[in-house]
């Protein structure tokens, strides 16, 4: 392990040196940064309250940041508690938008927008809004928002699809341009968006709310400048970024020097299943620096599952933060001691016009998994289990009996699922991907908005990667569709475990998707069971399944391609089942506290059989009929745990 002692740590600076570096004392710097964190959270709260769009209201699909002026290289100093795929990209996207438009062309009251994935990452639905803050005629800061717009044109309503083959099919691309000029709307820009969006009427009030939140953010920034002075304010922005950089530098230094390789696989694109895609990373760690080389990664996909280099860079920052020090504030400084080496034209560094990015978080998420796979073996107890890997995004539409159309978007697939375990404890079992950070739409909202009944939303048994700390359980979701429907399903990570194990823990098993057609055209009168024998009656959508029983079979099964039907047409009474991947386990499963295994059997995270097989714990009793009467056989457990086991945990 190497250490670097050439730089003085911020906390070791004398008061005079601190003031010389940041134009304020250390307490003022901390107070200003915390007040700015309040500002972005205040903006977020207000936007969430005012939003009309369900993707904002129910998913929290937006983020707010504050960045410095051009002379501070636009460094992103403060971020809201929201999507990392937005926050990470906004560090560069704001700078790129302002530089291209020209900072000298901006005036007080302007709002600059841009949604081009090649300029700033993400996909075209995620519109960036940048508002300069002026003091005495010069730009001193920017307040920024990025928010998902429900539709930005293109060939697929809403945009969520793996089938689009170029930027020309993907949706409207907006270069940096003014949406408001001096707080007056720029009609031509509004028309550009609304003339290309299917849901302009829904976007308009959310655009107005965005302006209000940017004005609020500007006001709060000004209040800080008036209270503490401009130089102290700018110093605090520097201090915030320097703190991140220093903490990341020290975290990197704690990793042994070496070259570490990892990979993750994406099942297929939206064209056919003749190609899978591999994201590869080689992490070269020397001293307090890391170079992440994506060489060896597959060329960009033929359809829009790609991500841009800014998304890859974000994934790198997320993975290193989670693995090396989750306490590091997420700012531009996160990447100061990290270099991304990115061959152009890969599935995570896509190039226009054919390398269209839409389902970008799926591929950038694969890079996170690859980094986990690369570093976990050398992190020991600090290793972290992987997550469920894919949002398994679901979209459906149809017509109600009264003739009114309905749509359901990103609610009834496997959008939420588990995280992996850590040295601190078991993995969470129902959350969002590492590179997201969203709310979960309420079941009542889902059932109100579409003719669907959510029958199950539960933790699936024996799906958390086994470990001294268990990975989060996969989510099993059954939805009953009350009208005929056209369903689009996008699970991307069913071949290769995304929930990688950590510190000797097992990987979480992979999931799948099935459709259960109605029997005799009738609505079902009972829940679909969860035993393997129920799947013979299903139409498999995705996953590695036994071709005869259609149940999961990771060892000998056959991959079923999610787009073998471009659109899955279902009749009223059909049940869609989505099972996510499981989270990775941490530590040797045979060292798991027996009482925790017993509690898992009682709570049906683990079956009686799974307790013996995966944990070496012999449980006696019936968890269904007498859960409180469960006990374990001490002698049989000791014998089982003493037996040699096949395979060596990673």
């Amino acid at each position: 392990m190497s250490t670097d002692t050439s730089a003085t740590r911020i906390r070791d600076l004398s008061d005079d040196d601190f003031r010389s570096a940041y134009d304020c004392d250390r307490f003022t710097a901390s107070v200003v940064v915390n007040r700015l964190k309040y500002a972005v959270e205040h903006m977020s709260t207000a936007f969430l309250r005012e939003a009309f769009s369900p993707i904002i209201r129910d998913w929290y699909d937006f983020a707010c940041t504050i960045s410095g002026p051009p002379e501070q290289d636009h460094r992103m100093a403060v971020v809201s508690n929201s999507l990392t795929v937005f926050l990470g990209t906004m560090a560069d996207a704001c700078r790129i938008a302002v530089e291209e438009f020209g900072a000298d062309n901006l005036s007080p009251g302007d709002v600059l927008i841009c949604n081009d994935p090649y300029r700033g990452g993400r996909h075209v639905n995620d519109v960036l809004f940048v508002r300069p803050v002026f003091v005495d005629g010069r730009i001193v800061s920017f307040v920024n928002m990025c928010a998902h717009q429900l539709d930005m044109g293109g060939t697929v309503p809403g945009g969520f699809s793996a089938t689009k083959r170029s930027v020309y099919e993907n949706g409207l691309v907006i270069p940096p341009m003014l949406l408001w000029s001096g707080d007056e709307p720029v009609r031509s820009t509004f028309s550009l968006v609304f003339d290309n969006s299917r849901f302009g009427g829904l976007l308009l009030p959310d655009f107005m709310s965005t302006l209000h939140q940017l004005q609020l953010g500007e006001r709060l920034v000004r209040e800080n400048i008036e209270r503490y002075g401009l130089q102290a304010y700018l110093g605090a922005l520097d201090y915030s970024c320097d703190t991140s950089a220093e903490l990341m530098r020290e975290a990197i230094a704690r990793v042994p020097d070496g070259d570490y390789r990892g990979h993750a696989t994406i099942d297929a694109d939206g064209l056919d299943d003749t190609l899978d895609y591999t994201v590869r990373v080689t992490l070269r760690k020397r001293g307090h620096e890391i170079e992440a080389d994506l060489s060896g990664t597959s060329a960009q996909a033929r359809t829009c599952i790609n991500s841009g280099v800014t998304d890859a860079k974000t994934a790198l920052g997320v993975a290193l933060t989670m693995l090396l020090d989750p306490e590091i504030p997420f700012t531009s400084g996160t990447w100061r001691h990290v270099d991304l080496v990115a061959p152009p034209g890969t599935v995570v560094t896509a190039m226009p016009p054919e390398g269209a990015p839409m389902m970008f978080w799926e591929t950038s998420g694969a890079l996170i998994a690859a980094i986990f796979r690369a570093l976990n073996p050398v992190l020991g107890e600090n290793a972290v289990g992987g997550d469920y890997g894919s949002t398994n995004t679901h979209n459906a539409s149809g017509v109600r009996a009264d003739g009114t159309p309905w749509t359901s978007a990103t609610q009834c697939g496997g959008e939420h699922g588990p995280w992996g375990a850590t040295k601190e404890g078991d993995g969470d079992s129902y959350t969002v991907l590492f590179n997201l950070n969203n709310l979960d739409p309420a079941t009542e909202t889902i059932e109100h908005d579409s003719p669907v009944v959510v029958l199950r939303k539960e933790h699936a048994t024996d799906t958390g990667g086994a470990g001294a700390h268990r990975g989060g359980a996969a989510n099993l979701k059954d939805t009953l569709w009350l009208t005929d429907a056209e369903q689009y399903l996008s699970p991307f990570r069913t071949k290769d475990p995304s929930g990688v194990g950590a510190n000797g823990g097992a990987a979480g098993p992979n999931g799948a998707m099935w459709i259960f057609p109605p029997r005799d055209g009738e609505l079902p009168d009972a829940l679909v069971g969860t035993a393997d024998d129920v799947y013979t009656a299903s139409t498999p959508v995705a996953g590695v399944l036994d071709p005869r029983t259609k149940a999961l079979d990771a060892e000998n099964g056959v991959y079923h391609y999610f787009a073998s039907e471009k659109c899955w047409r279902t009749t009223a009474g059909s049940v869609l089942r989505c099972l996510t991947n499981g989270g990775g386990g941490w530590g040797d499963p045979f060292e798991r506290d027996v009482q925790k295994v017993l509690a898992d059997v009682r709570d049906e995270y683990v079956s009686v059989e799974g307790a013996a097989r995966d944990y070496g714990v012999v449980v006696l009793g019936d968890p269904h009929r007498d859960p409180e009467g469960l006990r374990f056989d001490e002698e049989a457990t000791a014998r089982l745990r003493a037996r040699p086991r096949g395979g060596t945990p990673s």
Partner: protein, 81 residues
């Protein structure tokens, strides 16, 4: 449920894999930090965006580090205006 023991054995030789690599141009000289005679020039993306760097391949020291094109390998037709 199996242990996660898979190593990274795929080598990119599968034609369906179509891997891409970034070339690193050799540069004469040795590293002022570690002395290794293995300097290479290539683009990287870090805090602040793209940089054209000359780095030591042994210790990763940046011998030269200059801001690169704003969008890296992507060129805008409007830049010709």
């Amino acid at each position: 449920m199996s242990s996660d023991t898979r190593s990274d054995t795929r080598d990119g030789t599968d034609p369906a894999d179509r891997p891409l690599f970034l070339e690193r141009e050799p540069v004469d000289g040795s590293c002022p930090r570690c002395g290794a005679a293995d300097l290479r020039r290539y683009p990287v993306n870090s805090e602040g965006g793209w940089f054209d760097v000359v780095k030591c391949q042994a210790c990763l020291h940046s011998v030269r580090r200059e801001p690169g094109p704003r969008l890296g390998p992507i060129q805008l037709l409007s830049d010709l205006l």
